[in-house]
Symmetry: C2
Subunit: 309 residues, 2 copies
């Protein structure tokens, strides 16, 4: 088999996704671990990486490069936020080497910093992990290195990022995925039905309109069942269309961009397809990109820059 | 003591609020019961009214007039929705007499219908109970009988109602109160702290802006704690200001009204005060009115119209 050159990890709150890469950055092996930082005991990140992740991926003793919540105060070692605007070189120059302890045979390991922005209303905003996918996406799509691009990373806390001449200049977070989860589980809109009703999703996109007055638009998910006899099982799909429709219609303006600014959607394929549908519903140009490939490319680019290779 | 003339009940999902009124509509006695329709066994509404409510309020054998969810398919007897536009005479003419059973000594009882509107995006919209408060408010404020007025009834599912020449012509529901409850309890914004921090409430009002892109604005409640060091205990107050600010800034436009249309806020005094603050923050004229007095006046007006007295 090909020798492992580097262990790359996107280590989030819930899960750890790890890839063994060869010297040219190709994926040799990959695996998910239920080892997100919210599931770790304090101080055990290094030990779990050594005892579980490295052996499972034939990556014992290789260099390791990590991004995500593992660099937060809940993780292994804090990699402080960098302020926007930020480029790949800035991130690579701010990789943090976690302390090596007696029981830690990790050798060379580096943790990527997160990024901090002004956010809305002076509240600030933060990300950890999406910045690495963003720069991986840029590495995979060198035609985007110049000019201004709007990139959306959908998820529990979706990130909308503006890239200008290869640097992340500003971003906002929309908690669309979390709104969907809590409303689906805990509100008058709750339902155990799967969100797989394409017609109800489209109906939700229409109801989203320009995204204003979301609290009122959300009640249509109830009213269409109570007053119009729509099946309650279609509520999750309708709610998904409504929330994604409202987000995609309203967030670009918060970033100072026209609502019809083309969007690159980067992330999970299924979620990207829903965002594409929402954007195209309003006639907005959209391309989708695989988030995993971007994460790998971003981590490998950080590794190479960080080691000067 | 003054003889009871009528038992008036606002019988909702969670609670039953009942008043004994004298022949001129004055409150002789009142009490809350944890007998909301969601807490009733099927078919027991009449029996519980007879055995618990009437005796406790010295109202055995009096006529009774009821509004709210007691007229839904979860209640005592369905009082079908009337479609907008609706006036007090329409409601009084559509009072429903529940069937009298062997065990039911209720005598004369009437249940008010709910009201149905077009809602948003063709989804329809419904209310049960707020219409009675609205017409009670009109009865108590005869100077509002002419012209157009915008009335907000805040709550779990806030109602925004347009009254024109004494008739309810259209309305929308905003699930602001429910959003607050589920986010406070189940999301990354969760906190057990009380929502009593006036400064954080004001900060939320500012962050609400014009109310657009709510999913993104909501994340500021997280970012201000993580990135700006604001105390997590201030999150409920901030969230309250953000949600009420966004609602009051964005809902009037959905009803075809300018964002600076004066608002009459009708309901719980504490909640009304928060809405007043949100509206005045944006320079919108606002008056607040007691919801309980309006409910009593509305039920009494329905009773008089319904009996031709």
């Amino acid at each position: 088999m090909t020798a492992a050159a580097v262990l790359a990890c996107d280590w989030g709150t819930t899960n750890l996704r790890a890839w063994t890469l060869d010297a040219s950055g190709r994926v040799v092996a990959s695996r998910d671990f239920a080892l997100g930082v919210s599931r770790l005991q304090p101080g055990e990140a290094a030990a779990r990486l050594e005892s579980e992740v490295r052996p499972a991926l034939d990556a014992v003793g290789t260099p390791a490069v990590l991004c995500g919540m593992i660099g937060s105060n809940l993780g292994w070692c804090v990699a402080p936020y960098l302020d926007c605007p930020v480029g790949l070189d800035d991130l690579a120059g701010a990789l943090v080497a976690p302390p090596v302890t007696a029981g830690d045979a990790s050798g060379w390991a580096r943790i990527a910093p997160g990024v901090r922005g002004d956010g809305l209303a002076g509240a600030g905003d933060v990300m950890r992990g999406e910045e690495t996918q963003l720069f991986g996406w840029l590495a995979l799509n060198p035609d985007r290195a110049r000019g201004r691009h709007l990139v959306c990373h959908p998820g529990t806390h979706a990130k909308w990022m503006v890239v200008e001449d290869g640097r992340l200049t500003r971003f906002v977070t929309a908690m669309t995925g979390e709104l969907f989860a809590v409303l689906r589980k805990h509100s008058v809109l709750k339902s155990d039905a799967p969100a797989d009703d394409a017609e109800a999703f489209s109906e939700g996109l229409v109801a989203a309109g320009d995204g204003a007055a979301l609290a009122a638009r959300l009640f249509t998910a109830r009213a269409r069942v109570v007053g119009r006899g729509k099946p309650a099982e279609s509520t999750p799909s309708y709610l998904s269309g409504l929330l994604i429709g409202a987000e995609t219609a309203s967030v670009p303006r918060l970033l100072g961009l026209a609502p019809d600014t083309p969007v690159a959607v980067l992330g999970d394929a299924g979620l990207c397809a829903l965002y594409r549908q929402a954007l195209e519903h309003r006639g907005v140009a959209c391309e989708t990109f695989d988030g995993e490939a971007a994460a790998v490319a971003g981590l490998f680019a950080l590794y190479r820059k960080g080691t000067g290779q």
